[in-house]
């Protein structure tokens, strides 16, 4: 994109420093996760008795077999995976719709009543009613035991909405004016100009919301009544969080390797989303392009 023909010595040194520092940081950040992966393939004895290792001394896939065993947990795991993907996709679309419309609505600096709306958002951002009133509301609206209860009550995060609004406010105002002279309504400008221009921002918050949905188990715990409706994270969490009790009342702890495998299985799908979004993060060129 930017052609740099002549490099000063300072620039070269800076390049080297940046590459080294970042590479070390990235390795430090990823080592524990490598351990998690290694442990998910290790035997129980190895995990309990050896310190950190990056390759399992006695590799085995038992933990994964247990998770995907179709006669046992497998069917539940796969069903919940589909549910999670569905909730995440639909939920994120709902989030982005509500967040973007409101953020854009609030981005016009001289809108009458803007202050009122902003204060309402701010107020509810710091003050909340708590679990019981929200639960009653969700039940009263007939959303109890339905997936809507996982999506609608969290349709907007005030925090995210305020940041998106800031992105909208930074859009060059000339564009909007030009469009409105061309006879576009505000909704037209929003849909045809503002949204395409803020793709990096929408991709970012889409990712935030998606990760939020993916990792959310508490809403499912509270609002879903039927085990058949449980999302992936809840099923996985229950596989590892619960100590089971056998017939004599003795407790059986879940295996460490199973815990680790569950983390891997629960993390990898959402990690895969990221590379698809990555190209949008580099979309900054567009601003320049349209302007030019």
């Amino acid at each position: 994109m930017i052609s740099i023909k002549r490099k000063g010595l300072g620039d070269i040194i800076m390049d080297i420093v940046v590459y080294i520092v970042l590479t070390i940081l990235a390795i430090l950040m990823v080592i524990p996760f490598v351990y998690v992966i290694a442990a998910s393939f290790a035997t129980e004895t190895d995990i309990v008795s050896s310190p950190i290792f990056l390759f399992p001394p006695h590799p085995t896939v038992d933990a994964y077999k247990q998770i995907f065993d179709m006669s046992g947990m497998g069917a539940t795991v796969l069903r919940s995976l589909c549910i999670s993907i569905g909730v995440t996709v639909i939920g994120t679309i709902v989030n982005l719709f509500f967040t973007a419309t409101m953020a854009y609505g609030l981005s016009r600096s001289n809108l009458i009543g803007k202050k009122f709306f902003l204060n309402m958002v701010l107020f509810t951002m710091v003050f909340g009613g708590g679990m019981i009133p929200t639960f009653l509301l969700v039940k009263g609206l007939g959303m109890y035991d339905s997936y809507a209860a996982l999506i609608i009550p969290g349709a907007i995060s005030a925090y995210n909405m305020l940041i998106v609004r800031n992105f909208f406010m930074e859009l060059p105002s000339g564009l909007e004016e030009a469009a409105s002279i061309d006879g576009c309504t505000d909704i037209g400008i929003f849909a045809k100009i503002a949204l395409p221009l803020s793709l990096p921002c929408l991709a970012t918050f889409g990712l935030f919301y998606a990760v939020g949905h993916w990792n959310n188990y508490f809403g499912a715990l509270l609002y879903l009544n039927n085990q058949d409706k449980y999302p992936f994270q809840l099923v996985l969490r229950n596989m590892v969080m619960l100590t089971t009790e056998d017939t004599n009342g003795d407790e059986e702890l879940p295996k460490e390797s199973l815990k680790m495998a569950v983390i891997v299985v629960g993390t990898v799908p959402i990690l895969c989303v990221y590379p698809f979004l990555q190209k949008h993060f580099a979309a900054g060129v567009m601003v320049g392009a349209i302007k030019g």
Binding site: V18, M29, T124, I132, D186, Q278, K291
Partner: protein, 321 residues
């Protein structure tokens, strides 16, 4: 509306001007409608729960029938001996996070932005996000593994514990240290979230106008100069926004991490409002009292976020509101 046209002539003119503006912006209000409905239904209506703090309410006992206790929950909280300790611990943990942790994602994002090899940049980005997805329970157990002290003189402790012991020779406990634990907590946060935190700033960096860099290169600006004079100012609004929002959670420390890392030696320095509310509300089931503590936190948040906003505006930034 105006009964007496003559008497209200001036305000009507003002009003009608307002009306023109509102009409002009009618589609903006249409855009605001779904979000506003959401906030009213799901955020404003449940606010009646705040009154739980002034009642002896237990789930299952009719809310209307529960006795009013006025402000006694608040008085009990402020006069309790733990209040000062909780406040102190909360502020220390929070301040350390704001001072040391808050700038890191920004720096990291700026560094990532300097990487020109696109595939390498993408790879690095993906790697630094990974820790965000590792749950706190796993991070805690890895921390124990690295920092644990030896159980007797013949065994060795965790890798980092041994390393530090070799360097300074003291072998003091990290996990049980009243001050050391703060650094452990901070480092856990940094490790887990600083990579993830870069996303917003990278999105902001993506919005920087490329023409500016091109012009700067023509003028012979070095990379460092470009960074200081173009890149940093370009993301300043985002930084300020994030900072104001961060101030809104100045008393939030979360409870999961703290409860996982707590032990009898460090408890007096790791108990915060959030762990307190967790214990009293979720464990002991005392909703009136825990709601009162939560309400106190909310009021402080509101003050902080407003002050930060004022301050930002004062400093010539756009602010949030």
């Amino acid at each position: 509306m105006a009964k007496n046209a003559a008497a209200v002539a001036a305000p009507t003119a003002k009003k009608s001007k307002k009306w023109v503006q509102i009409k002009r912006d009618k589609w903006m209000y249409a855009l605001l409608l779904p979000g506003t409905l959401y906030f009213i239904i799901f955020k404003i209506i449940p606010l009646w729960g705040i009154f739980i703090s002034m009642k002896t309410y237990y789930a299952g006992v009719d809310f209307m029938e529960a006795d009013w206790v006025g402000l006694s929950n608040f008085i009990k909280f402020f006069s309790s001996t733990s209040f000062i300790m909780l406040l102190k611990n909360t502020l220390i943990i929070s301040a350390m996070n704001i001072v040391f942790f808050f700038p890191l994602p920004i720096i990291l994002a700026l560094l990532l932005n300097e990487i020109r090899l696109q595939w390498y940049k993408k790879a690095l980005q993906t790697l630094v996000y990974v820790p965000h997805f590792v749950s706190m329970v796993v991070i805690a157990s890895i921390t124990f593994m690295l920092l644990k002290e030896s159980s007797n003189d013949a065994q060795s402790g965790g890798a980092i514990f041994e390393l530090v012991k070799r360097i300074n020779g003291t072998g003091e406990s990290w996990l049980g240290g009243k001050v050391a634990i703060y650094w452990v907590l901070l480092f856990q946060n940094i490790w887990k979230e600083s990579g993830w935190g870069t996303i917003i700033f990278l999105a902001a960096l993506a919005g920087v106008d490329v023409e500016q860099y091109e012009a700067a290169i023509v003028d012979g600006a070095s990379r460092l100069q470009q960074l200081i004079y173009i890149t940093v100012p370009a993301i300043m609004t985002t930084v300020v926004t994030m900072f104001i929002l961060r101030m809104g959670s100045v008393l939030d420390t979360g409870y999961e991490q703290l409860i996982l890392m707590q032990n009898s030696l460090n408890k007096s320095s790791t108990d915060t409002f959030d762990t307190y509310v967790y214990n009293i509300g979720r464990v002991d089931g005392n909703y009136g009292y825990s709601t009162a503590v939560g309400l106190f936190k909310s009021i402080v948040s509101l003050i902080c976020i407003q002050s930060a906003n004022r301050l930002a505006k004062h400093a010539g930034q756009a602010g949030l509101f």
